[in-house]
C-alpha cells in the first residue's frame, strides 16, 4: 500500500472516531487558552515573531559559516563531531560509538530527529536496549507506536489507558492519578539512567557563537540522560543553529509559549562539552551528530527555504483543523501536521508524499500560529504546483482545460448551466450510489439546486 492510500484509509477510520475527536479538540482548546495567556508576557507577540523570523533567516542564509563556527567551538572543548549527509550515515555514526563503548543499555531523551532516521529500530536490531526517558515517549514506546505529536507524544491517550498499559507492561497497580502514574514510570526510569552506558539526546538549539547546544524540557529527564551515562551522543538537524547566545532569550520563551502554553519550559540546559579536567561530573565523552538528510535540498529552494526556520514547537499542528481531525499517526511521518506536510515531500520525495500537501483546506491557521513566520500554507500550494509539474495528472488537467474554454465563452457557459438544470432532477435516481459521479460530495452533503434563473440570466434580462 502506498503512503497516500495508507493516509486515506487511516483518515477514513479516525475521522469517524468521535471519542478521538473529542479528546484531541478538548486538549488543544485548553492549550490555546494557556498559549494566549502566556503570549501576554511578550511586550508584543507580533514583533517577537518578526524578530525570531529575522534571526532564523540570518542563521539559515549563512548556515555554512554558522555551522563551521559551531563545530570549531565544540571541537575546541573536546567534543567529537560527526557530519551525516544521510539518515544511514547518522545511524552508522551512532552505532559506531555505541559499539566502540561496548554498550548494552542506552537511555534516550526526546528527539524527533531520531524518529526521522528510525534510530531506535536500528539500535534494537543490533541487540541494544533503548529506553525513552521522556514520559510521553516512554508511554508510546511501551505501546510500540511512534509519537502522536512532536511535542505531546502521548496526547491521544487517557489516564485510564496509560494506567492499563503500565499495569500490563510494568505490573503496577491501577491508578487514575497523574502523579502516581508519573511515579511508576520514574521508578523504572531512574534505574535505567544509572545502568545505561550511553545517553542519546536531541537538541532544541545549537548556538554558533559559543558552541553550545540548548535543550529545553519539563521533566529533567534530558539532564539525567546527558549527565549520568559515561558517553553522551546528541543528534540534531543542521537547521538548529542560531547565531548568538542572546538569541536564546527570545527563542526559549517563544518555544515554550507557542509549543506548550508555558512562559518558560521547566528545565533549560546548555551543554558546551564533555567533562573537562578538574570537573566532577558530566559525560566523559560527547559525540554530536549533525544531520543533513536532504535539508540542504530544501535550503537550495528559495521559495520554501524558510521551512528550515522551524523550531519544532508544534504550534501549527495544534491549530490545524486537519491535524485535529485526523490525528498525528495518520500522517505516517516523523513530522506531522502542516510543517510535516510542507517538509516531508522535500525530505522523502514529492511523488510519494504530495498527498499531504493536498490534504489541506489551505485555511492558513498554521501560518498565523507559526512563531517564526514560516509561510506554511502557501508552501502547500507550491508543493501542489511542483507535484503537477513533476508528474502531471492528465485527466485533471484536461478537465481544467475544458472548464477554461467553457467559462470563457458566455454561450458555452450558459449551455453548461442549462445542461445542469436539465439533468439535476435525474441525479437523485443515482444519488449516493456507485453510479453517482459526485459521490465524494453527496455521501455526507446535500447538493444545492441549480438556480432556475442564474445571476447572469437575471442581469441580461435587466439590461
Amino acid at each position: 500500500m502506498t503512503a497516500a492510500h495508507q493516509f486515506l484509509e487511516q483518515a477514513r477510520r479516525i475521522t469517524r472516531d468521535l471519542r478521538h475527536r473529542g479528546l484531541i479538540q478538548t486538549a488543544l482548546r485548553k492549550y490555546e487558552v494557556k498559549r494566549d495567556e502566556k503570549k501576554l508576557a511578550f511586550p508584543d507577540w507580533e514583533s517577537a515573531r518578526q524578530a525570531a523570523a529575522e534571526v532564523k533567516w540570518d542563521a539559515i542564509n549563512h548556515l555554512d559559516s554558522y555551522l563551521e563556527e559551531f563545530v570549531a567551538r565544540l571541537e575546541a572543548r573536546g567534543t567529537r563531531v560527526h557530519w551525516a549527509s544521510t539518515a544511514a550515515e547518522a545511524r552508522d555514526a551512532i552505532l559506531g560509538v555505541v559499539r566502540d563503548r561496548k554498550a548494552k543499555s542506552i537511555i534516550k531523551s526526546k528527539a524527533m530527529t531520531a524518529e526521522e532516521i528510525h534510530l531506535n529500530d536500528a539500535l534494537e536490531k543490533e541487540g541494544y536496549e533503548v529506553v525513552e526517558s521522556d514520559l510521553g515517549e516512554y508511554i508510546v514506546q511501551l505501546r510500540h507506536e511512534p509519537p502522536y505529536h512532536i511535542v505531546f507524544p502521548a496526547m491521544h491517550l487517557t489516564r485510564d489507558e496509560i494506567s492499563d498499559l503500565f499495569h500490563r507492561e510494568l505490573g503496577s497497580a491501577q491508578t487514575r492519578e497523574p502523579e502516581e502514574l508519573t511515579m511508576i514510570a520514574r521508578r523504572v526510569l531512574r534505574q535505567k539512567y544509572i545502568t545505561a552506558d550511553v545517553g542519546i539526546t536531541g537538541a532544541n538549539f545549537a548556538v554558533a557563537e559559543t558552541g553550545m547546544i540548548s535543550i529545553t524540557e519539563n521533566e529533567g529527564n534530558a539532564r539525567l540522560t546527558a549527565a549520568l551515562p559515561r558517553t553522551m551522543i546528541t543528534l540534531l538537524g543542521i537547521e538548529k543553529v542560531i547565531p548568538a547566545l542572546e538569541d536564546l532569550a527570545l527563542f526559549l520563551p517563544m518555544l515554550a509559549t507557542a509549543g506548550a502554553g508555558q512562559t518558560l519550559t521547566g528545565y533549560n540546559t546548555m551543554y558546551s562539552g564533555p567533562r573537562q579536567p578538574g570537573e566532577a561530573d558530566g559525560p566523559e565523552e560527547w559525540h554530536v551528530v549533525l544531520l543533513d538528510n536532504r535539508r540542504t535540498e530544501l535550503l537550495a529552494d528559495p521559495e520554501q527555504r524558510d521551512a528550515l526556520h522551524c523550531i519544532r514547537c508544534g504550534a501549527c499542528l495544534n491549530v490545524c483543523p486537519i491535524f485535529r481531525n485526523v490525528g498525528g499517526h495518520t500522517y505516517g511521518t516523523a513530522y506531522s501536521g502542516p510543517i510535516g506536510s510542507v517538509i516531508t515531500p522535500h525530505l522523502r520525495g514529492l511523488k510519494d508524499w504530495k498527498h499531504l500537501s493536498g490534504a489541506s483546506s489551505l485555511c492558513g491557521a498554521c501560518t498565523e500560529a507559526c512563531p517564526v513566520k514560516i509561510d506554511l500554507h502557501h508552501h502547500l500550494l507550491q508543493n501542489r504546483r511542483n507535484a503537477v509539474v513533476e508528474d502531471a495528472p492528465v485527466l485533471e488537467r484536461l478537465a481544467y482545460r475544458l472548464f477554461a474554454v467553457v467559462a470563457n465563452h458566455p454561450t458555452l457557459w450558459q449551455f453548461a448551466k442549462e445542461l445542469g438544470r436539465t439533468f439535476q432532477p435525474f441525479h437523485r435516481w443515482i444519488l449516493r450510489t456507485k453510479l453517482d459521479p459526485a459521490k465524494a460530495w453527496t455521501a455526507t452533503r446535500d447538493v444545492p439546486p441549480m438556480a432556475e434563473m442564474s445571476f447572469k440570466e437575471w442581469w441580461r434580462t435587466r439590461q
Binding site: V326, R384, F403, R445, A451
Partner: protein
C-alpha cells in the same frame, strides 16, 4: 463610481440571490454597477490543484477584462483573495505580473468594500433573527477581513449576533479538498456545525457562499434546523 461586480461561477449558477442583493445594495448607494458577461470564474480550482497553466487559461481573460475597471468588487472572500493576492503568484514570470499587481490594488471583497472603501455600515436592513458569523478563511487570513462584516451586521435591525466558539476555525470546504478528502472535510464541517448550533442561532451567516454550500449540505442531510445565508442577502432584507 462605476463598480465592476465580479460574480464567481458558483454564485452565478447556484446562488443568484447573493449577486442580485449586491447589485441592489450598490445601486441603492448611488453607484453604477456593471457585471462582465464574458468571464465566469477566477481560476482558483485549477490554481489550488497545482494546475497553474490551466488556472492561467481561466485567469488570462479575467485580467484583460478587468483592466479598464475603476474598482472590482468580488462576491466572495475566497475568489477575492484569488484576484487580489494569488494572481501575482500565478502570473509571476509571465510578463503580466504588473497587470496582476494593478488589478490587486483595485479589488475588494463586498463587505470590506462597503465598510472600508465606502465607509457605509447602515444599509437600512431589517432581519429579525439570531445569527452567528462564520469567517471564511481566505477572507479572514488572506485579506484580513474580520470587523467589516460584523460592523454591517451590528446595524441590521432586529438582528442579534452571537459569536460561536472557534469562529476562526475552517469549516472544511477548501474547494477541491472537499471532494478529494471528503472524510476530513466532513469531520471539520461537523465540528463547525456543532459550534454554530451551540449558540442557538437561527442562521449561520458568512461572506463566502462556498463555505455555506458545504455547511448547508451537511445540515440538510442531518435534518438540522440551522439555516445558512449570505451576508448580502441579510443586508438587502427589508
Amino acid at each position: 463610481m462605476t463598480v465592476t461586480l465580479f460574480i464567481p461561477c458558483f454564485i452565478d449558477a447556484l446562488y443568484p440571490r447573493v449577486g442580485i442583493s449586491m447589485v441592489q445594495l450598490l445601486e441603492q448607494l448611488g453607484h453604477r454597477v456593471e457585471c462582465p458577461d464574458d468571464i465566469a470564474c477566477c481560476g482558483q480550482p485549477a490554481f489550488n490543484s497545482g494546475c497553474w497553466p490551466e488556472a492561467r487559461a481561466v485567469a488570462d481573460p479575467v485580467l484583460t477584462r478587468l483592466r479598464s475597471s475603476e474598482v472590482v468588487v468580488v462576491a466572495s472572500g475566497s475568489c477575492g483573495a484569488m484576484l487580489k493576492k494569488f494572481y501575482t503568484d500565478l502570473f509571476a514570470g509571465t510578463g503580466r505580473e504588473d497587470e496582476a499587481a494593478t488589478l490587486s490594488g483595485k479589488v475588494w471583497e463586498f463587505s470590506d468594500f462597503l465598510v472600508r472603501c465606502l465607509g457605509v455600515t447602515d444599509l437600512g436592513a431589517r432581519f429579525p433573527a439570531r445569527v452567528t458569523f462564520h469567517d471564511g478563511c481566505h477572507g479572514l487570513r488572506e485579506l484580513g477581513i474580520k470587523t467589516s462584516p460584523r460592523r454591517l451586521l451590528e446595524r441590521v435591525q432586529g438582528l442579534e449576533l452571537i459569536e460561536m466558539t472557534d469562529t476562526e476555525t475552517c469549516c472544511g470546504f477548501g474547494g477541491t479538498f472537499s471532494a478529494k478528502y471528503p472524510m476530513i472535510s466532513t469531520a471539520m464541517g461537523e465540528v463547525k456545525c456543532a459550534a454554530a448550533q451551540a449558540t442557538g442561532a437561527d442562521y449561520i451567516v458568512s461572506n463566502d457562499s462556498s463555505c455555506l454550500m458545504h455547511l448547508q449540505g451537511l445540515l440538510t442531510v442531518r435534518k438540522q434546523p440551522v439555516k445558512t445565508i449570505h451576508l448580502a442577502e441579510i443586508l438587502a432584507s427589508r
